[in-house]
Symmetry: C2
Subunit: 363 residues, 2 copies
DNA sequence: CTGAAAGCGCTAACAG
DNA sequence: CTGTTAGCGCTTTCAG
């Protein structure tokens, strides 16, 4: 029964069909007072039959809201595909947004500065209601920009100094758990092959690792990489050639762990008997290799969903709540921001063959 | 020098600052005739200084164009993360779109029908200018809907019957290449562990595989799966227990190939001496395992970029060209559609240890 | 509770 | 070549 002709269906068509004014239709469909329940029902009915939906641009223009949130990934394109992390994150974010009828605008850029440029454009064009920020680095230019521009944002990770509401992980606890696990197995020299050193969460894990190891009486070692398999191979080689060879290595992602495993095995060392391995992010990869890798499993989809939900809440608050003006009262403001943080789903250590029972030969 | 105050910067501000009318500003910035070059330059200068960009909703409303294209992934969320395929595809698409200042709206849904619902909503809301379609299945409801709704679309894969412009891969040629490679190595019994049987490209590969094997005098076998590691393990088990055990197995994605490798090795069979393995899509995974896997490498980012570019061209044509009305003249129309197809980047066989030299022990 | 009308910011067709 | 003006489709005050 739908009109197939060229003209677009407008609220006027619905109004005419329902025998009311366009204003009434608007009230009826937005659940606002101003129409009788009978009328409301009829309007909804008619709109449904006609398959009418408010034109997104027109609506945005009048309510100054786009129904869209943005996500800019600031990572060299080449590394995005390797880790399943991002796809899962996006999946989680999207699932939550879709539930609320909010769209996700996605963009990839090579750097944090380029990311800011995208934000700047989005703000100028009024293209998104808010953004989700990931991979916060040291001296990240994004939080400051977002605050000044007044673009609502939620950070995944990062620290309290950002001044943005965050979804905060339990990396520190997870690191402690890993170290405790290794200590229990009798390891004395433990190494960590960490990711891009600029990343705040990488740094946090580094520090937590060193601290946890020290306080357990172990000897920690650190090697930095760029998260790639190639870098992991180099780092692993280097570790294996050290005078004091670590008997356990913790990798900062799944790809690096698997790459490291290959190197260890190529050196004729047995896993886990001579070297135990742990991957951060668990993934299909970790249980596909032999021996299967012990991993820190995080609910990444859940993390994304929480971040999205937090942002939606922020947007809803902004509609009625106080003007998030950049001003004085730093302390009170920071407190509010802190209170606004949300804990990410707990990560857990999945123990597999790469760290099982057999105690390492200490040297 | 930017105004930090609350009010949004509008074209009127730019006009005032440049001492011209708003109309002149619009002409100047859209590269249209109607202003002197001197004025145009001044306007552009001023707009730049002010950091003004046309408000996206307002612009969309008047030009009936959103500057956004949509991508809906119709796959159960759980499998999206495993394959790096999608992330690479998105990366490629996005890179091309970003160059033209076009946004990418992303959504994930569990089925093709749900996908159509998203399209329906997008059309009703005027949310996107066009869409990119992937994972075409047999009797896919999407192409018909898109044609009827008049929503510009480009399909990645699928067959000519879709009636949509496509980016067409060279799967058939690639399959032939794989089979020829295996035949050359002396394999007689070759198997293919294929993905979801509903997918058109899976079916195409199945047929090409059988045909190529037959015409090379080989004995092909097929097992269907759902692309998961789990299904691959089951399929591989089954293959290894067959009376006539295949000496070479071709997997429809990287994850399945690696999972299959583990099963083969668990059976005490040596790769490639006793069983040779080939992965479709190459990825980090394939060169991380031992032995490294021979794989059909495709330029997935390139594929995405081409599809995006094709869609942008379609949109540009639509602006000035003929009304893409669904009507008679099927033949002519089909011809046009065919001519509008674009070849995907060529795939190539990357030979690694999993199929190297040593001839299989034929039985 | 309902209908008319103004305006969101921009583009494009119109007179000057 | 320039300035004025009428919409794009919706929401939302403001009279009735």
């Amino acid at each position: 029964m739908t009109t197939r002709a060229g003209r677009r269906l407008t609220i006027a068509d619905v109004a005419r069909a329902a025998g009311v004014s366009t204003g009434a239709v608007s009230y009826a469909l937005n659940g606002k007072p101003g129409v009788s329940e009978a009328t409301r029902a009829r309007v909804i009915q008619v709109a449904g039959e006609l398959g009418w939906r408010p034109h997104s641009a027109a609506r945005s223009l009048s309510v100054a809201r786009t129904g869209t949130v943005g996500l800019v990934l600031a990572r060299p394109a080449s590394t995005l595909g390797d880790e399943s992390f991002y796809m899962q994150l996006i999946t989680g974010i999207e699932a939550e947004l879709a539930q609320q009828g909010t769209g996700l605008l996605l963009q990839m850029v090579p750097s944090e500065d380029a990311c800011v440029e995208v934000y700047r454009r989005w703000v100028a064009q009024g293209r998104v209601d808010g953004v989700l920020v990931s991979d916060i680095v040291h001296d990240d230019p994004r939080p400051a920009f977002l605050r000044e521009a007044g673009l609502p944002a939620v950070a995944m990770g990062g620290d309290a100094a950002l001044g943005l509401p965050r979804v905060v992980g339990d990396d520190e606890r997870a690191v402690q758990q890993v170290v405790a696990h290794l200590a229990e197995l009798g390891h004395r020299h433990v190494a960590r092959v960490s990711g891009l050193p600029g990343l705040l969460h990488v740094r946090l894990r580094d520090e937590a690792f060193t601290a946890a190891a020290r306080s357990a009486g172990l000897h920690p070692q650190l090697v930095s990489t760029d998260f790639t398999a190639r870098a992991s191979r180099r780092a692993t080689e280097r570790l294996l050639q050290r005078r004091v060879r670590p008997t356990a290595v913790v990798y900062d992602n799944d790809v690096m762990a698997v790459a490291g495993l290959a190197v260890v095995q190529a050196h004729g060392l047995r896993v886990p008997q001579e070297v135990a391995l742990v991957a951060w992010d668990d993934s299909a990869l970790c249980s596909l290799v032999h021996p299967r890798l012990t991993a820190v499993a995080r609910d990444i989809r859940g993390l994304g969903a929480l971040a999205a939900r937090r942002l939606l809440r922020l947007l809803a608050e902004g509609d009625s709540g106080a003007d998030a003006g950049a001003g004085a009262g730093d302390e009170a403001e920071a407190q509010v921001a802190a209170a606004a943080d949300v804990p990410a789903p707990a990560s857990r250590l999945v123990v597999r063959e790469s760290t099982s029972a057999s105690p390492p030969e200490t040297r």
